[in-house]
Each structure stands twice: as structure tokens, then as C-alpha cells.
């Protein structure tokens, strides 16, 4: 292999992230504790440079490294979403005391981001599996980073379930390899073309679905989500709520519609089932929650359900709508977590009732939270409405009317618990009157997200035309 012929441009964003992960890590070793505080900013710079280099790859299709790594529109869009949301998390955490040394914390986060980016571009089973592990291993560590009983419990659960899911995924991959004789997606596509569905292949597909379903928290592989969202340090939960799922969805989009295209009718039905289960479980159980982050965890499960509708539709419009929805969902969910971060930083509890009268104590936070929750509900003119609209419309045009109706019904159910928070913030008197001050970077991050949620609700074309739908 002649290395001068490798198109290094293709992997430039990943290299930048890797480079900054190592720089930040070294900073932890060599800098004094004051200088270390700025390592978050260094990480932020790295992410922004990576964003620029992703944009420079726009509209280019490259497959490199012996067909293991490919850059295409789906991968680029999802990487962009991942990087933007992670940048917002890092921005929001700049002035927050993180649970580890800054260098360790942010470098682990960047390693996880790197893994997710590689997942988004992986077009080989080996690559996909390694990238997945690179995504989750630092995430386990971040979840455990507080090192108290609660944090460790959640990390252990996340780790054990994750590793079981990984092993099942791996087993499925071995069967897929056996059935097709290759680990490369393109070769798998060719090998399966025109063949009928072997039982072993079906088992392989389902086991792979378990692994990736775990990653995106689809029912019944979702059990980690509420615990992790509730129990991990808030910055980590914020990070996990948004970007890292991009890897799972990218892998789903690359693997199922492309490599497993010939089995489409089968897996489309499976995704429809998972979508319905996730929507109902997430929304109904969220109704019974009192802890805001746990509620958001269940709501995340429900939103995975909505997102899987895009895969159940199994056509280009479906995937595009899914990506758009993923974008708007990530923004709103991340925003809600950052609001929780802002309140917990000031010692406000995390029960829904602790948000009582927030609009008096922190008007901007309350408005932002209301905007995020309304967007999650799918109310116009916020981005979530557009996302749901396109998603359900895609379902309707593929004759999955029942799925769309279940989706709409679930949005109606979800009102029940989102409104509880809004009601507490606006329609209940606060117990204490002290105003809540927020650090400037966190404030900036929240306001940026709020602006984006409104902007993409009013003018979704801005995103849709970028991703050329």
C-alpha cells in the first residue's frame, strides 16, 4: 500500500480530534492547576477546527483504507451534529467544575467523540466494532468519573449492559461474516444481492440490531438510559443525551439500508416494532417520573422510537427525515440538560417540583427550558414540530399510516409530562426567591441552542437544503 496515495483529507476531522485529545491529555500532565482550567477551551478549539474540516469535506464521497472508511453525506451530517452538540456541551462546561481533572475529562470526551465519528464513517464490520468500543469505553469512564456510590452504580450498569450488547452485536457480526464471507459493507451488499433470507442471516441481523439498538436506547434494550441520565455527572449526561447516538444511527443507516438492502422488508418491520415499543414505553413511563433527568431519560427512549420510524419507512426520505429529527432532537434534549446543569450548579434539586417558579428566579433559563420542552413535544413554531412533521409525513407516504398515528398519539401523551415541568416553572410559586446566576459560557450555550431551536423551526430549509434533501 502506497501511503502517499491515501487521501488523508478524508480522515482529517478525526485526526484533528485525536490530536487535540492527546494535547489536552498532555496538558493535564504538564500544566499547573490554573492553566489546566483552560483545557476545556483547548478542546473546544479542537472541535471547532474539526467542524471546519468536516465542512470542507462537504459534497465529497471518498472511500478510503481498503473500503473501511467512507465519507459521504450521511456521515458528514451526523459528524457535524455530533461535533456541534459536543462543542455546546464543552462550552457549557467551561466554568463548571468537572468530576475529573480537566485534561482527563475532556480528552476522554474527545476520545469518545472520535469513536463516534469513526462509527459514522465505518463501512466495515471490524471498523464499526472497534469504533463502537472507542465510543463507549470512555463513556463508561466518564459516567463513573465522580467515583461515588451512585456514579459507580450507574457506570457498572451501563458497562455490564453495554458489554452484553457488544458481545451480542459481535456474535451477530460473526454470523453475518460467515453468511457473506466478508466484513466489508460493499462486499456484503454484493454477496447478499438477490439471495433469499437465510435463517442464520436473519439471526445475524437481529443480533446486530440488539447491539445498535442498545446504543440508541431502543426498547427493550434501553434500560441503561434512565439510570445513566439520572445518575451520571450532569455534564456527562448532557454529552450522552445528544451526540453519541449519532454513531448508532449512522451505523444503522450504513448497515441496514445499504449492506442489508436485500433483507429490507424484514428489518423494516422490526424497526417498526421497536419504534412502537420505544414510543409507548418511553412516554408512558416518563409520565410517572418525578426526577427531571430521569424523565428526560425516558423521553430520550421515546424519541428513539420516533427516530426509528425513519428506518421503518426504509427509504431515502425516511432516513433524511430521521437525520433532521435527530438534529432537532439533539439540540432540544441537550438544551434541557444544560438547563438542568445550570440549576444544579446553583444547588437547585433535580425533582420536577424543584423547578417551581423558575421563571422568577431565572427568566432566561425558564424560557429556554420551555422552548426546549415545547420543541420536544413537537409544538410549532419550534424545530421539533418540523422534525416530527417530516418524519410522520415520510411514514404516511410509505403507507405506514398506523405508525404515524401512533406517533401522533404518543406526542399527545408526551404533553402530559413535559407540561408538568413547564407548569412548575411558570404556574407554581417558587419556594425561595433568590435569583439563579449562570456562568457566562453556559448562558451563551443555552441561548445559542434556544436560538437554533427557534430558527430551525421557523426556517427548516436552512438545514434541509444543507443536507440536500
Amino acid at each position: 500500500m502506497d501511503w502517499s496515495q491515501v487521501n488523508w483529507m478524508a480522515i482529517m476531522p478525526e485526526l484533528i480530534i485525536l490530536g487535540f485529545a492527546i494535547i489536552v491529555l498532555l496538558g493535564e500532565l504538564f500544566l499547573n492547576s490554573d492553566a489546566r482550567r483552560s483545557l476545556g477551551a483547548v478542546a473546544l478549539v479542537g472541535i471547532i477546527i474539526a467542524i471546519v474540516s468536516v465542512i470542507r469535506l462537504w459534497g465529497i464521497n471518498i472511500t478510503e483504507f481498503n473500503g473501511m472508511f467512507s465519507v459521504d453525506l450521511t456521515a458528514n451530517v451526523l459528524k457535524l451534529i455530533l461535533l456541534i452538540t459536543t462543542a455546546l456541551v464543552v462550552l457549557g462546561t467551561l466554568k463548571v467544575k468537572v468530576t475529573l481533572g480537566e485534561g482527563e475529562f475532556f480528552s476522554l470526551m474527545l476520545f469518545s467523540v472520535l469513536g463516534t465519528m469513526l462509527m459514522a464513517s465505518a463501512t466495515d464490520l471490524i471498523m464499526l466494532f472497534i469504533a463502537l468500543e472507542l465510543t463507549v469505553l470512555p463513556a463508561y469512564v466518564l459516567v463513573a468519573s465522580k467515583r461515588d456510590a451512585r456514579s459507580a452504580e450507574v457506570a457498572l450498569k451501563y458497562f455490564l449492559l453495554g458489554i452484553v450488547a457488544s458481545v451480542i452485536l459481535l456474535y451477530g457480526m460473526t454470523l453475518l461474516f460467515g453468511a457473506t464471507g466478508s466484513t466489508n459493507f460493499a462486499a456484503i451488499t454484493n454477496s447478499l444481492h438477490g439471495h433469499s433470507l437465510e435463517p442464520m442471516l436473519l439471526v445475524a441481523i437481529l443480533m446486530i440490531m440488539v447491539g445498535l439498538g442498545f446504543k440508541v436506547a431502543a426498547v427493550p434494550f434501553h434500560f441503561w438510559a434512565p439510570d445513566v441520565y439520572e445518575g451520571s455527572p450532569v455534564p456527562v449526561a448532557s454529552y450522552l443525551s445528544a451526540g453519541p447516538k449519532a454513531g448508532g444511527f449512522a451505523a444503522l443507516i450504513h448497515l441496514f439500508p445499504v449492506a442489508l438492502a436485500s433483507a429490507a422488508p424484514a428489518w423494516a418491520t422490526f424497526f417498526a416494532i421497536l419504534a412502537v415499543l420505544s414510543m409507548f414505553t418511553g412516554n408512558l413511563v416518563a409520565l410517572a417520573q418525578t426526577h427531571v433527568r430521569r424523565l428526560l431519560g425516558y423521553s430520550a427512549v421515546a424519541h428513539t422510537g420516533y427516530l426509528l420510524v425513519g428506518l421503518a419507512v426504509a427509504n431515502r426520505i425516511g432516513y433524511s427525515s430521521m437525520i433532521f429529527y435527530f438534529f432537532v432532537y439533539s439540540l432540544a434534549a441537550l438544551g434541557a440538560f444544560l438547563v438542568v446543569l445550570a440549576t444544579t450548579e446553583r444547588g437547585i434539586g433535580e425533582n420536577i417540583t424543584d423547578f417551581a417558579g423558575l421563571h422568577k428566579r431565572a427568566p432566561v433559563l425558564a424560557i429556554a427550558m420551555a422552548v426546549f420542552l415545547f420543541s420536544l413535544v413537537g409544538l410549532p413554531p419550534f424545530a421539533g414540530f418540523m422534525g416530527k412533521f417530516f418524519l410522520f409525513k415520510a411514514a404516511v407516504s410509505s403507507n405506514l399510516i398506523w405508525l404515524a398515528i401512533i406517533g401522533v398519539l404518543n406526542s399527545a401523551i408526551s404533553f402530559g409530562y413535559y407540561v408538568t415541568i413547564i407548569r412548575q416553572m411558570y404556574l407554581v410559586s417558587p419556594e425561595s426567591d433568590g435569583t439563579v446566576t449562570i456562568s457566562k459560557p453556559l448562558y451563551l450555550s443555552i441561548v445559542l441552542i434556544m436560538a437554533a431551536v427557534i430558527f430551525f423551526g421557523v426556517y427548516p430549509t436552512a438545514f434541509l437544503s444543507i443536507i440536500k434533501l
Binding site: 464490520l125 471490524i126 466494532f129 472497534i130 468500543e133 469505553l137 463508561y140 469512564v141 463513573a144 467515583r147 461515588d148 456510590a149 451512585r150 456514579s151 459507580a152 452504580e153 450507574v154 457506570a155 457498572l156 450498569k157 458497562f159 455490564l160 458489554i163 452484553v164 457488544s166 458481545v167 459481535l170 456474535y171 457480526m173 460473526t174 454470523l175 461474516f177 460467515g178 464471507g181 466478508s182 466484513t183 434512565p226 439510570d227 439520572e230 445518575g231 410517572a288
Partner: protein
């Protein structure tokens, strides 16, 4: 090549199942890690067997198996670190005592 491919697969399936039982039933977190190792080895047997029977001239299955070994090692490292944190906090690694978060 006297032994049919499916025999290897069946042995691997049985090992996988035993590993699963261990994960689902053992009380001790460290034993659960052992059980995961059993399952990973089962998957690797599959890989090498498929590689030998389906694509003997290409060794991508073996490559995959080698990567899996490395991944298993890193998972064990992280897993043990987490188990250690649990132990420091509650002086036990009994999985059935770890139950703060629910519902």
C-alpha cells in the same frame, strides 16, 4: 476439514449460552466479567471457523479475531476499574446489592 463447520458453531453457541447464564445469574461482578470473556471467546471461535471454511484464502476472520482479543483486554481493564470503584464505595461487588437507581 473432516469436521463440519456447524460443529464448531454449535460448540460456540453452547459456550455463548453458558456465558450468558453466568452474566445473568452470578452474584459476583468479577465472575460476570469472566462470563463475558467466555462469550467473547465463543464469538472468536465463530470468526476463525468461518474464516477457515468460508474464506480460507483471505484471513479477514482471523484479523477480526485478533482485534476482538485486544478489545476484550481493554474492556476488562475498564470493567475492573469500575468494579473497584464500586468496591471502594460499598465494600462489596455483589451485583444484587447495586440497586439505588430504579423505576
Amino acid at each position: 476439514m473432516v469436521i463440519p463447520l456447524s460443529w464448531y458453531l454449535i460448540v460456540s453457541a453452547i459456550l455463548f449460552g453458558i456465558g450468558l447464564i453466568g452474566v445473568l445469574l452470578r452474584q459476583n461482578a468479577v465472575t460476570i466479567l469472566f462470563s463475558v470473556e467466555i462469550m467473547l471467546n465463543a464469538a472468536n471461535i465463530n470468526l476463525v471457523a468461518f474464516s477457515r471454511y468460508v474464506t480460507p484464502s483471505v484471513i479477514s476472520g482471523q484479523m477480526f479475531a485478533l482485534f476482538v482479543m485486544a478489545i476484550a483486554a481493554s474492556e476488562v481493564a475498564v470493567g475492573l476499574a469500575i468494579v473497584l470503584t464500586i468496591y471502594r464505595n460499598v465494600q462489596s461487588v455483589d451485583i444484587d446489592r447495586i440497586n439505588i437507581f430504579k423505576w
